[in-house]
């Protein structure tokens, strides 16, 4: 049986089809080509032809044309459409014409840097020239660093290393900065939220240092498909960019199957195990001889599925070693061997975490099965892009888990298949993040009083730092004036510099397993909490708040803990407001909150029964952040009562629902946003729903919701109406025990009414 036969058999299998919420057939598309740009060095064209690249795809030609014309670009095309050439061609063209030229490549991970270095070295080999391409990251040996600084033509690194290792030592990199012509920023869609807001500031620092050495580099950005690649890349780089989005690479016919495992418990929204369903589906693809990649969200699931598939493979004559696992923690040589095996076909199936989602070259496979939604549409398409040769048939199966985000996607495939609704959101002006990078920038080079950082004057913040005795103002400049190294204290992956360190003290001397910001720590690392990390449960024995340490040990228990926050609104300063279409007012601005975790519940896994509770004694946390709010007219309560629905339940349900749906639209993690509903909120004195950024200062999510509110509100309505539960479940408005038994009807009533639709209750 081959893949085509398998697909037609599945199409005729009612037991399988019962769980399919959508079977989309994406038709094949032929290649569209463009000419080799005339300005390109003929040696480069000859080398490309010798490597089997006879012609460029139209998007590659367009990108190279724009870049050679001196413009910065953002290329937005799917996985494996040949975007690497879009930057390697102009970079090598410049290097051939002037070997003094330098380029900096930024990738979000070290593995990707390695892969791209090898790719660039292939070009060097094909050209037969002496050009140096090096990765520079935490793994680079000390004795190699000097040579890389002096003579690396292309330096491949990551934003963290640029931030801590390169910029504060820029005088050692004179060659690079003086001759910096191109900066490549790949996987731009990964730079969003807190991380993206930091990276935007790192790039501001990079441009500032380059300018000091007289260089003004062009930026070449690449992104997976999102709604706003040009806006996001523009915010990151601070440059006007030309968008290249018209993919000219060919593709074969692709079947995209949305598979939602059957419901086991409707009230609690629990479905059959996605791992078991994935296993069953993957076995059928293996038996059909399809080269298959299976994506799982955690390392533990990878190992579990690997074991299942090895067993299954034996039954159909697949030998040991032809099914492989791939995840962080594997040795680089092992990874390289697996990648090679996938390319040459000797590996028949691979089970991977999202480590293989990014652009590492493994060729194209026949089938991709995703055990769980990858978190964003962009990431999911990147995973799906692993299946699909340029010609011929491929299949993708997305197997949903019980999590609310998965259920939203499986229940609303149009959201996924239509034009990408996801907006990559960052806020480089977040004051905490901005201030951190101003310190780093002042360390690197004194600020002139009138200097701009990004697009804004920063003298006022610099003056503040003078008062704080971090900077010193003399002769019209702000000088770093402290005996510390500020980049060391700033992690690009966290908003606030202060974190709780999580220590597994079951091993002698203790082992640090992670860090967490203070706000999340109160909720997830309080005494007696069950903290889940890398699919392992840990019991929190002690949260030492003063020392910022949580001592945990691994356990296996059948419950999880859910802490209750008590949130009090202290201040509110509106920046913008406008009326909603029909009902109420919308606003966005800064809010001050006092946030306190008071109690927690123990909830049994599977049944979601409440099996215990406890008090939490932690200090109140004050937070200032940005919020969106939807203020309803006070009269709505009576109107709802007349229709037999309850405003209180409705607001609780709405908070749960929007806490799930809104992050999907703004590319946030569920934890990046908090939702809070109040029957009679201070300041508005009316029933109000707040959705606010969970990091201090905010990184733009709330403002984005304000802009996209109508779209999000309609999506939330569609989702709650489509949800198969009766009165509410964790996938929509929350379980009945939490939100009340009239939450689903009430939330739907409000959303419909606000959209000017019939608000009738079914």
């Amino acid at each position: 049986m081959n893949l085509a036969q398998l697909l037609s058999r599945l199409r005729a299998d009612p037991a399988f089809l019962r769980n399919v919420t959508r079977w989309e057939v994406i038709p094949p598309a032929p290649a569209r080509h463009g000419d080799w740009p005339a300005a390109l060095d003929p040696r480069l064209v000859a080398a490309m032809r010798a490597r089997g690249c006879e012609r460029l795809y139209s998007h590659q030609a367009a990108a190279v044309d724009q870049i050679l014309a001196g413009r910065s670009v953002v290329v937005e095309t799917p996985t494996a459409s040949g975007k690497t050439l879009c930057y390697n061609l102009p970079v090598f063209d410049a290097l051939l014409k002037n070997p003094e030229t330098r380029a900096l490549y930024l990738f979000p991970t070290k593995a990707l840097s390695q892969d791209q270095m090898h790719e660039a070295l292939e070009v060097v080999r094909a050209l037969g020239v002496d050009l140096k391409v090096h990765t520079f990251d935490g793994d680079t040996p000390e004795n190699a660093r000097r040579a890389i600084r002096a003579s690396g033509h292309i330096v491949v690194t990551n934003p963290d290393m640029l931030h801590q290792g390169i910029l504060p030592h820029h005088t050692l990199w004179v060659k690079l900065f003086e001759n910096l012509r191109y900066v490549v920023v790949d996987e731009v869609h990964q730079y969003r939220g807190v991380f993206g807001s930091h990276v935007a500031n790192v790039l501001r620092r990079l441009k500032r240092i380059a300018a000091f050495y007289g260089a003004r580099p062009q930026f070449i950005c690449c992104s997976a498909t999102i709604a706003n690649p040009r806006e996001l890349a523009g915010q990151l780089t601070g440059e006007p960019l030309v968008e290249i989005a018209d993919n000219g690479a060919p593709r074969g016919e692709k079947h995209f199957i949305f598979y939602n495992p059957p419901v086991v418990n409707a009230e609690l929204g629990i479905r059959r195990s996605s791992v078991k369903e994935t296993r069953a589906i993957a076995e059928r693809f293996l038996a059909a001889g399809a080269q298959t990649i299976v994506f799982a969200r955690s390392r533990i699931r990878v190992e579990l599925l690997l074991t299942y598939l090895e067993q299954a493979g034996r039954k159909v004559g697949i030998r040991q070693g032809e099914v492989r696992g791939y995840r962080g923690g594997y040795l680089p040589t092992e990874r390289r061997a697996i990648e090679q095996g996938l390319r040459d076909g000797s590996v028949r199936a691979v089970v991977s975490t999202n480590a293989l989602e990014l652009g590492i070259d493994i060729g194209r496979l026949d089938a991709c099965i995703m055990c769980g939604y990858a978190g964003t549409v962009a990431s999911t398409w990147q995973q799906a892009g692993r299946a699909g040769r340029r010609h011929g048939l491929s299949a993708v199966v997305l197997v949903g888990t019980s999590s609310p985000a998965d259920q939203y996607i499986l229940g609303n495939p149009d959201y996924f298949l239509g034009r990408s609704p996801e907006h990559g959101t960052i806020d480089p002006e977040n004051l905490i993040i901005l201030m951190s990078h101003l310190k780093c920038a002042a360390f690197e080079l004194p600020f002139r009083a009138e200097e701009e950082f990004g697009e804004r004057r920063v003298a006022e913040i610099l003056d503040y730092l003078v008062d704080e005795r971090v900077l010193h103002r003399a002769e019209g400049r702000y000088h770093w004036m402290a005996d510390t190294y500020p980049a060391e204290d700033v992690s690009l992956r966290a908003a606030a510099p202060d974190n709780v360190v999580i220590v597994d003290h079951s091993v002698p001397a203790g082992r640090v397993i992670g860090e967490m910001d203070l706000f999340s720590a109160q909720e997830m690392l309080h005494d007696e909490a069950i903290y889940i990390h890398g699919a392992q449960q840990y019991h929190v024995d002690k949260l030492d708040w003063d020392r910022r340490k949580a001592y945990v040990q691994p356990v296996r228990v059948d419950y999880y803990t859910d802490a209750q926050r008590k949130v009090e609104l202290k201040t509110l300063e509106a920046e913008e407001h406008r009326p909603d279409t029909v009902l109420g007012e919308l606003g966005t601005g800064e809010i001050g909150l006092v946030d306190k975790v008071t109690v927690y519940k123990k909830i049994k896994l599977g049944s979601h029964e409440n099996v215990g509770a406890g008090r939490v004694n932690l200090p109140e946390m004050e937070m200032h952040t940005t919020s969106f709010w939807w203020q309803l007219p006070a009269t709505v309560a009576a109107e709802m009562a007349a229709d037999g629905v309850d405003l209180g339940d409705a607001l609780k349900g709405l908070a749960h629902l929007l806490g799930t749906v809104a992050p999907v639209f703004v590319m946030a993690d569920v934890r990046d946003l908090h939702a809070q509903a109040m029957l009679r909120a201070p300041f508005t004195d009316a029933p109000t729903l707040y959705l606010y950024d969970s990091v201090p200062g905010g990184v733009g999510f709330a403002r984005r919701i304000f802009q996209q509110w109508e779209e999000i509100r309609l999506a939330a309505l569609a989702h709650v109406r489509r949800c198969p539960c009766h009165r509410g479940c964790p996938s929509c408005v929350g379980a009945v025990v939490e939100s009340g038994d009239r939450a689903k009807a009430g939330a739907a009533w409000l959303l419909a009414r606000a959209a000017g639709l019939r608000a009738a209750v079914d």
Partner: protein
């Protein structure tokens, strides 16, 4: 809302409540100086600085002569094998050709934001040692210092530092780049005394900090009035903010001691070079000294001398000679084919480390190939479980 208020609020929110590392209080840093005095008066009266007009602006400096620190009576010897390979030799250089340099900085972190605020220089002129200190009166005024340093550097044949190859010189290079100037010490061979001190004395000292070497080797005690290194950045930061001298006089004194301490140390190194060349004087040299001297001779490719120090190491081999020292001595004695001395050392080693692989290997090879004693060689080959060698030796024993 007021930006400043927001900043303060956010800053407070994210600042760690854990206690700051122990820093001296303002009183300790400021000392007794009265605030609000004219800066010029502070520089002149409290720090004893004077001004000099340079092309790059006004320079604040002071010079001190140390009549007691005479130029050494012996000619400057070759420090080949003692200084790191990168340092060019002392051929044709005299004591008067050396520029001693040490900086005081706003921190040890390195990178572009660390500021050297005091450049201490020293040299011998007319038989006496002179120190010159260039003081940075405030950030952004490095031009005159860097220019003066470049001018000085031009007049000398090498720059002598303590850990300067890794710290002071790169930092000055960084500052020059930031000020868009050439590296002031670019043309000057660099003599870093830290690796040299490690080579000569490191084996016998608890650490190789400059003050430890000064105390143990040169017999110089700095006394309790020497300011602790960790206090130096806050003293300067307080000066910059408040315009008061505070403990800066102590910092300047400390810096002068660092500079002339290097001169003392280099003189001691010259003495050591002479002692090495004279060869062992019989028993009495500690193993640490003999070991270091043997290795220096090896680096200087003086085989016979190295071997004689190695023999001395063997003689001195006290119960606490580390195995690495013993193996070094074995290596050096093998080079001069002194097999009996090698045997004596190896046997002494085996008495302490009977199962050690390297010693047994040395013994096996020695007895098989050099001393023609297959019986004893077999003993060690057995410990090594070296089957090839065992078979070969058994065959040889059977044949005889």
């Amino acid at each position: 809302m007021d930006l400043r208020k927001r900043l303060a609020r956010l800053d407070q929110l994210t600042r760690a409540p854990a206690p700051e590392p122990q820093r001296p209080g303002p009183a300790a840093v400021r000392g007794g100086a009265a605030p609000d005095r004219d800066l010029t008066a502070v520089l002149r009266d409290d720090l004893g600085l004077e001004t000099r007009e340079t092309g790059a602006g006004l320079l604040w400096l002071r010079e001190d002569v140390r009549p007691s620190l005479r130029v050494p009576a012996v000619p400057l010897p070759s420090l080949a094998g003692i200084l790191s390979a990168g340092a060019r030799g002392a051929r044709d250089l005299a004591w008067e050709d050396l520029l001693f340099l040490d900086t005081e900085t706003t921190g040890l972190a390195g990178g572009t934001g660390t500021l050297p605020f005091l450049i201490g220089l020293g040299w011998w002129r007319d038989g006496c040692f002179t120190t010159q200190q260039l003081f940075l009166t405030g950030p952004g005024r490095e031009g005159p210092l860097l220019a003066a340093l470049a001018e000085q550097a031009d007049r000398f044949g090498a720059v002598v530092t303590y850990n300067g190859a890794a710290f002071d010189l790169p930092l000055l290079r960084t500052r020059a780049r930031l000020a868009r100037r050439d590296d002031p010490c670019a043309g000057l061979p660099s003599w870093d005394l830290l690796p040299a001190a490690r080579r000569l004395w490191g084996r016998g000292l608890p650490d190789c900090r400059q003050q430890t070497v000064e105390r143990s080797i040169c017999g110089r005690m700095r006394g309790g009035d020497d300011i602790e290194g960790a206090l130096i950045p806050p003293v300067y930061l307080a000066y910059v903010r408040d315009g008061t001298a505070g403990l800066l006089p102590s910092v300047l004194r400390h810096n002068r001691r660092d500079v002339d301490g290097m001169a003392l140390m280099l003189a001691a190194m010259a003495g050591e070079v002479a002692a090495i060349a004279r060869g062992p004087a019989g028993a009495g040299d500690a193993w640490a000294t003999a070991w270091s001297r043997a290795l220096v001779c090896e680096r200087r490719r003086e085989r016979a001398l190295a071997a004689s120090w190695a023999r001395c190491l063997g003689d001195a081999a006290a119960a606490d000679l580390p195995l690495a020292g013993l193996l070094d001595a074995v290596r050096l004695l093998k080079r001069v084919a002194d097999w009996r001395a090698v045997e004596s050392l190896v046997q002494r080693g085996l008495a302490r480390w009977p199962q050690d692989v390297r010693l047994n290997y040395e013994a096996a090879v020695l007895y098989e190939h050099r001393l023609g004693d297959p019986q004893r060689a077999l003993l060690h080959a057995t410990v090594l479980q070296d089957r090839g060698r065992q078979a070969r030796l058994r065959a040889r024993l059977g044949a005889t």
